[in-house]
């Protein structure tokens, strides 16, 4: 069986159109407070380019192609890993004052439990 993916002109245009529309709609609903994490998050998502880099590197047959392919994976991996680290750090900081008190209670319950046991 052949599972290789063939994408020709119009199919590609349909994919691009639907993806662009999805991106536009998803981002349209994000509150301004999340704009920076979002920019960073979308920056992380295009780190998927590292997969393309792997494809290029594994198909390399000359020294030049190997060098450029290595460069592609190196940069792509940097994009993906760095983007994730930064976005994750930013998002972990968001909490409501409701959460804060909830957390406080939770912590309190935890500390009181050993005494009860």
């Amino acid at each position: 069986m052949d599972f290789s993916i063939q994408i020709t002109g119009f199919v590609a245009l349909y994919i691009f159109m639907l993806a662009a529309f999805a991106g536009w709609v998803i981002i349209g609903h994000v509150p301004a407070i999340l704009h920076t994490p979002l920019m960073s998050g979308s920056n992380f998502v295009h780190g998927i380019v590292v997969v393309g880099g792997m494809f290029a590197l594994l198909n390399a047959s000359t020294m030049q192609e190997q060098a450029i392919g290595f460069f592609a994976v190196l940069l792509g991996a940097g994009n993906a890993a760095g983007g994730y680290a930064v976005t994750d750090r930013m998002l972990a900081m968001f909490q409501t004052s409701g959460h804060e008190t909830h957390r406080g209670k939770h912590g309190h319950a935890k500390s009181s439990r050993p005494k009860a046991v």
């Binding site: 979002l38 920056n43 997969v51 460069f71 940069l75 940097g78 994009n79 760095g82 680290a85 968001f94």
Partner: protein, 483 residues
């Protein structure tokens, strides 16, 4: 089934899952409550896609077979080194330096897209003119995004201090772009069978990438530091587009979808940012704003009235309501922690405290929200411009810290260069305190009449130091009251 079709099937399924997880992850990022899980979901997609990419070893071209072991080794090395360094950098960087870090990672993505295109071009692997043209388009956008993002990084990091402008620069830039496109066109022409009369094909490819990289540099150099957020956002969208195009070339729909989603999202984000600054994107890119234009001082009534930090702090302690307008000056002074400490004191004394955030406060839209969140400020105290602007009229005190242009009432006068920019109506509060390092002007280099208004007092000093004095003053009251 052969090993090749099993590999193809597995890659197909994991990439499909990755695309779905990216979309779902981005969707979850649309609310602060679900956002942390959103990035986790997207990260999971990335992980499976990268692991599955090793299955390409069962599906490589015949020419690459003898080099497979070396290539796999190089792949692992590149993943570990590139990913490791970026991970370490991302965990370590200060929150104030976040915009340039995003610029750097974004440039890397653009460079990766360009490099993928380069292997296709040097190996002459593209089939048909459409694929070739799409490859080169992706290469062009990726290369511009790489060098442009690096310049944006250098500007925000302070490596490049001033915008570099020369006479007729715009024309020169257009010339370089046209030159790049001409080389690209010629390259397509000769790769399609006609033998080259001018240069061997590999040299032409080098020339093409060189021109594209130079154009990215030239395009970004004249843009001022204040406009960098918009520029980074543009390059973010551009990298997405380049990744999507290269995804088409190598026949990977996950890259096409992820790239195009980011391309569209980044474009929308860019427009929102430009709108908040009341500028068009073209205006940001092609007009030298914030340069040496001379503004007439204008006739400003009133005088600057300095006051002591302690007095201002005590006044706020006995106010009913306070709205705080933080700007980049607060972050530059690392005063967010102190500010929240002061806010907690006020809230303990039953003062209603709210934060008002201008869309372009900080160096990136939403950056001020992140900086406040980092200091522990709960986000239900943080309000955006449209939600809070009506409240200034009924508020006792507006405290402006390290912000300037975003509260400049001159934006309401037609003759002002910033006319039309949405501002926070701080001047409508009963009393305004402005914490500022000195008498200098803001980024836009325009005199701020608010500072001269009758209901405004200036508190000069470093934001963190001023807040420390305010905290001490209010604490001093508390001790007296207790005794």
């Amino acid at each position: 089934m052969t090993m090749t079709s099993i590999a193809q099937l597995t890659i197909g399924v994991t990439d499909l899952a990755a695309a779905l997880l990216f979309l779902y992850g981005l969707k979850r990022m649309s609310s602060p409550v679900t956002a942390p899980s959103g990035i986790f979901v997207a990260g999971l997609g990335m992980l499976v896609a990268v692991l599955a990419s090793f299955l390409y070893v069962f599906d490589v071209s015949a020419a690459a077979k003898p080099h497979l072991m070396v290539n796999v080794g190089l792949g692992v090395l590149a993943l570990v080194v590139g990913g490791g360094f970026a991970w370490w950098g991302g965990k370590k960087v200060a929150m104030t330096a976040m915009p340039q870090m995003v610029a750097l990672y974004n440039g890397m993505g653009g460079g990766a897209a360009g490099a993928i295109a380069a292997t296709e071009l040097f190996g002459n692997k593209t089939q048909g003119t459409t694929q070739l043209v799409v490859t080169m388009l992706g290469a062009l956008i990726g290369a511009i995004s790489l060098s442009g993002s690096l310049i944006a990084w250098a500007k925000l990091e302070g490596v490049i201090k001033r915008p570099l402008r020369i006479r007729g620069q715009q024309y020169f830039n257009i010339l370089v772009l046209l030159g790049t496109l001409t080389v690209a066109g010629y390259l397509v022409y000769v790769t399609r069978g006609v033998s080259s009369q001018l240069l061997p094909i590999p040299q032409l490819i080098y020339l093409f990438f060189g021109c594209a990289l130079i154009y990215g540099i030239l395009m970004t150099l004249p843009i001022g530091g204040a406009d960098m957020p918009v520029v980074i956002s543009i390059y973010n969208a551009a990298t997405g587009l380049a990744v999507g195009l290269e995804g088409f070339v190598i026949g990977n729909p996950a890259l096409m979808i992820a790239g195009m989603v980011v391309g569209a999202a980044g474009t929308l984000l860019t427009l929102l940012m430009a709108q908040a600054m009341n500028r068009s994107v073209a205006n940001v890119l092609f007009t030298n704003f914030g340069g040496a234009q001379k503004h007439k001082a204008g006739h400003i009534k009133g005088s600057l009235k300095p006051t002591a930090a302690a007095d201002a702090g005590i006044f706020m302690r006995y106010a009913k309501s306070v709205i705080i307008i933080p700007g980049y000056g607060l972050a530059a002074a690392q005063g967010q922690q102190k500010l929240y400490e002061f806010v907690k004191l006020l809230r303990a004394a039953d003062v209603s405290v709210k934060f008002a955030i201008h869309p372009v406060a900080g160096r990136m839209p939403g950056q001020m929200d992140v900086l406040l969140a980092e200091a522990g400020v709960p986000y239900d105290l943080i309000f955006q411009l449209d939600d809070i602007n009506e409240e200034f009229k009924t508020t006792d005190v507006a405290l402006v810290i390290g912000a300037n242009d975003v509260v400049n009432p001159a934006a309401r006068t037609k003759s002002s260069p910033i006319f039309g920019m949405p501002i926070l109506n701080a001047d409508q509060a009963k009393q305004v305190y402005v914490v500022k390092r000195g008498q200098g002007k803001g980024y836009a280099d325009i005199v701020n009449p608010l500072f001269y208004a009758d209901n405004c007092n200036m508190v000069y000093g470093d934001a963190a130091a001023v807040l420390t004095m305010m905290i001490e003053a209010v604490r001093g009251l508390g001790a007296k009251a207790a005794a």
